[in-house]
Symmetry: C2
Subunit: 199 residues, 2 copies
Amino acid sequence: MSEAPREIEELISLMAKLPGLGPRSARRAVLHLVKKRALLLTPLSGAMQKVAETARECVSCGNIGTTERCDICTSEKRAIGEICVVEDVADLWAMERARVFRGRYHVLGGTLSALDAIGPEDLGIPKLVNRLKDESVTEVILALNATIDGQTTAHYIADELEGRGIKVTSLAQGVPVGGELDYLDDGTISAALRARKSL
Amino acid sequence: MSEAPREIEELISLMAKLPGLGPRSARRAVLHLVKKRALLLTPLSGAMQKVAETARECVSCGNIGTTERCDICTSEKRAIGEICVVEDVADLWAMERARVFRGRYHVLGGTLSALDAIGPEDLGIPKLVNRLKDESVTEVILALNATIDGQTTAHYIADELEGRGIKVTSLAQGVPVGGELDYLDDGTISAALRARKSL
Ligand SMILES: [Zn+2]
Ligand SMILES: [Zn+2]
């Protein structure tokens, strides 16, 4: 492809690496950006630079924030006795949008997977266990996707936490089989959290 | 939405303005960008800034380039006798990918539309007529979308150019009814250009 100037081709090929955009939708997006240079392209470039400079993983929970420990971990309004374990930051955001959970989180960054050789250490599960030792946690809520890997991971964590005097629950009613948290509406997530059951 | 830091929410809301990305795919894209900060986010921000600084409309044809007159208009390899009229830069790129047209272009930036009150001046049709006076053009190829507005525009331009001793043709065979150029494969565009007919 050499129909556009080099600078624009470079932008198209980078945009095409975004999830949800292929080469042709990346081209359309870039043309749109060039047309809306002042209104969209320049602000977007600036916003990306700002995020690149400021965004970082929370050292406690793995959430994305702009400080060493994220706003949720440092908030005095959040219960320190409950930790909600999620696969991904997108799932944490989905939980927050539902506005029913007032504790803190632990972001695994994935699920156990024999196929992809992802083990407990890769997911920071030992780090989660250490948090439980240091912090006065009374309940761990496993809010993992209702996929096979998600449920395998949930059971692995439940086994790891057994005998520590910590209640381990999981989202239950409302999560459809095979469904992914990030695709559910807020009401479904709320119902699932309220009806959580002991494992 | 306040689940993510302000900087990230701002980036998400700007990304959601891109064609093809809604609020939820924008969130996914931004999370992906934060994870691939060095590999994707920083380069993308830089590429956008570069395009914002360098991209401009060619004063002759309306193509997007980085110079006052674009590479196609200034190329000595392109025939000066043929001008291909397209609605949009995306269509110009689609024509270039087909690699069969070796003349130059005129980008209208849209089609005539009574509904949207878009008249000939808005599309630079008088500018096209002036180009034909100044440049030694022998053929104008109308490569407009096979939509009602596209064909109305084609006929308007054909009428405007009548009696000037310029051959006016249009892409014909191969363009499906209701189809848009930018969605066609290169072979279809090639066939349509080769089988172009006089209006
Ligand atoms: Zn945190
Ligand atoms: Zn040009």
